[in-house]
Symmetry: C2
């Protein structure tokens, strides 16, 4: 399929004189074709189309929304060869990894399809009221309804699963919201191919063209204009803290503020309790090394901070980890920008801690790095707790007393992991209690990378891991981000949404009162 390099404004294409090209990170060379940057007029047009589409999409039956999501998944699979080939060129991610990511992407679309086909996610509640009461208590029925058009900003590190047809888009479409994606400039061709899969699905099913649009821009302006647009009612974002906070601030300054769900990453601390370190140190070092270096460390859940207790087991563990890090193959990073940020991050960490190992690399590639410091240094230098995106980690040696201090000093995290021997967790209840207040997901004896797409998953966490710690961007709970409760009082049955009609024509789970 030919990549046209133009924004998708519903079923139309937009072109402009300002263009940019994708770069092959493995070679540093530009890729064809060039991509037209969207204009502010394009933003207005897509937003108007989305607002018009919302009238339709908000009333679309769950089965129809499911059909759309399944069709998108099918179209992605039908075009998978070109999609993966292009994604590989634009990201240098291995083809095998991209094939897995595509399966995750289509699986996610089908998971949301199943969720909305079932229909029970809307949290329908029916209170029949009480006609005998004086004054009569009215009939009240409420459910989650879609919030309106959603702007989505994809991540560079998951060009499929957290990008154009990724989790934010899937959950927003599932909720009944039109979507406008601002394509990540690092993989515009991949974005266009995924966008075509979506637009084709919208067209094939005869849905409103404003259901989906895709805008290209290398800079920040178009994204900012999108978030400012009065027709946009929520924002989904996965990326850097700087980028996420910028969108949060723009949204807060709108005359009518809107929610921004920005997943901004974290250092994903791993606490290794003494007995676990003593008995399973080598096994944990191996697992940790794999987790740190997986995908050249380019995961939001990459473990960047490892807390252990000082002692002999600590020395052996660090030596073991060091040897693994030292023999790690260099890997090509997603972009030159990420690569240079990684290098700068390593420099910063080195100024606060002992560097045990950092393998060499060229301008596009990064080696793994290991730093070692003491808890007192960590507690004194906040910078050590900031994410360095890439295959590095800091081992922090602490006294038993400092363990709690470190836990209390942590910022909000996507994940926190604890390695513990049998019975060791029970004696660290207080630690677990503190850690629970800091993370979206707590892991015992595992590793944080590998975010399962599951109804029970929480890929979120307190600020600054995300801008809204009440949400998750992975798993079925993610749909709730793009919905709000609406109550219908004394409505004629025929005018209620099907979910709330007395006869329950959709057969969904509902709470029905009186009963409380």
């Amino acid at each position: 399929m030919t990549i046209l390099g133009t924004s998708m404004i519903g079923f139309a294409r937009g072109a402009s004189e300002e263009t940019f090209r994708a770069v092959n990170p493995a070679t540093g060379r530009d890729l064809d074709p060039s991509f037209s940057s969207a204009t502010s007029a394009d933003v207005d047009r897509t937003a108007s189309l989305a607002a018009a589409a919302f009238v339709e999409s908000s009333k679309l039956a769950g089965t129809r929304r499911g059909e759309l999501l399944r069709r998108i998944a099918g179209n992605l699979e039908a075009g998978s060869e070109a999609l993966i080939e292009r994604a590989h060129l634009e990201t240098a991610l291995p083809v095998g990894r991209l094939q897995g990511e595509l399966m995750r992407t289509t699986g996610q679309l089908r998971m949301f399809a199943a969720l909305v086909e079932d229909g029970s996610w809307v949290s329908a509640r029916i209170d029949h009221g009480d006609a005998e009461r004086k004054p009569p208590k009215p009939d009240l029925r409420s459910m989650l309804r879609p919030i309106g058009p959603v702007a989505v900003f994809g991540a560079s590190n998951f060009p499929l699963a957290f990008s154009v047809a990724g989790g934010d888009t899937a959950s927003a479409l599932a909720a009944g919201c039109p979507v406008i994606v601002k394509a990540h400039p690092a993989h515009p061709g991949t974005s266009e191919l995924a966008g075509v899969a979506i637009v084709d699905a919208v067209r094939e099913l005869g849905l409103h063209e404003g259901t989906f649009s895709l805008l290209f821009d290398r800079g920040f302006e178009i994204g900012a204009a999108l978030v400012k647009h009065s027709s946009i009612k929520a924002v989904g974002f996965t990326g850097s803290r700087r980028g996420g906070l910028a969108l949060v601030n723009i949204a807060a300054q709108r005359p009518r503020p809107i929610p921004v769900y920005a997943e901004m990453g974290s250092v994903n601390p791993v606490f290794i309790l003494p007995e676990a370190l003593r008995t399973r140190g080598a096994e944990i070092a191996a697992g940790l090394h794999a987790s740190v270096t997986l995908g050249v460390g380019q995961f939001c859940t990459n473990p960047g901070l490892v807390v252990i207790e000082r002692g002999t087991a600590a020395g052996a563990f660090i030596d073991d980890l060091e040897e693994r890090i030292a023999t790690t193959a260099v890997g090509t990073m997603l972009t030159a920008g990420i690569c240079s940020a990684y290098r700068a991050g390593l420099g910063k960490l080195a100024s606060f801690s002992r560097t045990r190992q950092a393998t060499d690399a060229d301008a596009h590639s990064a080696g793994a790095a290991l730093f070692v410091t003491g808890a007192e240094s960590l507690l004194a230098n906040y910078e050590l707790m900031e994410e360095v995106f890439g295959p590095s980690t800091i081992v922090v040696e602490s006294t038993p007393g400092q363990l709690m201090e470190v836990a209390r000093a942590l910022e909000g995290q996507l994940t926190i992991t604890v390695h513990a021997a049998d019975g060791e967790l029970s004696s660290h209840r207080e630690l677990l209690d503190v850690l629970e207040t800091k993370a979206g997901r707590l892991i015992v004896n595992g590793f944080p990378t590998g975010v399962e797409v599951s109804p029970a998953m929480v890929h979120g966490g307190p600020f600054p891991a995300t801008s809204d710690g009440r949400s998750t961007s992975v798993g079925t709970r993610a749909i709730e981000r793009f919905a709000r409760p609406v109550c219908y009082q004394s409505f004629p049955d025929a005018l209620l949404p099907d979910e709330l009609k007395e006869a329950n024509p959709l057969g969904i789970r509902r709470m029905v009162f009186p009963s409380l």
Copy 2:
């Protein structure tokens, strides 16, 4: 019971040199005793206590939380005579109304008690994973957990049900969050009595004293310091748009922003469709008049905007409403400030529309007022859509075409009401669709005042009706504001919260997978 006039810092009392007194709005005279304003040191102490209490409260069994809420309700009832007497003195609300409001308050506490005793509200999800998969899919379990200490700002117009022991406090305590209330300065004695009922319940049940604190201050500083405090994790507020937005801005500027649930009121538009106006005009006028003037119009859901179609039925309807407004008894308002703001609001409305009737009043009392204007004037003068808190309403005459324009121009509302004859709603589907995007609650052939405490209630709505249109401050859904999802991966069963243990010891509703 003696009112001491001092802040309640857990089980201790705080005094300072800066004092203020409540005013009897019926007489304009100061009431005894004087109240000490809290200091910033008091804010720190209450916040530290709350943070310490959270460790306990977040793990308290639902049955124990239920016991606390029921005990608070019991204590309020035991002290109801003094409570209602004082509330009457401080607010001039009739004793009968206050008795009803107390029943609402205790009913609300018991509703949340029942909710957390049942325990199913936490949205527990269990994914057993797949040990056969390569790599194995881990066991994942997630549920809603309390967010942390909550700051609550009560409303002046509901000194019981939306104040110290009101819905925000009840839902936050139910979720497992300690609460610090900044007492509304218009009813400090009522606040203290309600606060004592809560503190006594905390003490009687042997719970951590930081579970509840109450701070007095006439000004804005203490409330602002509370919202800025790093230990506070969420804010509940009911009051003016100015006050709510101020808190929203403070919270957004924190190093770690927190959610603010500010219910800021709205004009609660009422659309009367032509056939309903023709056939039920007199009945609607009577109901509307009662809704506008109920409690001297001091309700968030007071209908301040009535949209009708021009024509003969319109004239009769306006004449009817005018006569009712003209013969409405003058009523004492909650505070002199509210009374003067109401007068200023009437002046503003009069400058844009024809005044049909405004009864006279003295400095503490307000008469009902009716304004009439055309849709073109409403659409040209945004000020006409701003809430004027008190017993006034504007009737807007429009052409059939303007009806949709007015609907589209509306801001977010707590409620929107439509009066329609049989079949008339079906021919106004487009209107209903637009109105749904603007309100938390849609009402057919009723009136917006009277917010039922029901599991199906939504007392919320898009900005600026509230600062967070994804929430409700009335009904059981309100508990979700003070919780966030947490996922436990590969946890030993014994260390999971009871809600997620394999054997389901609490017998709650859960989603269990595989099954999707």
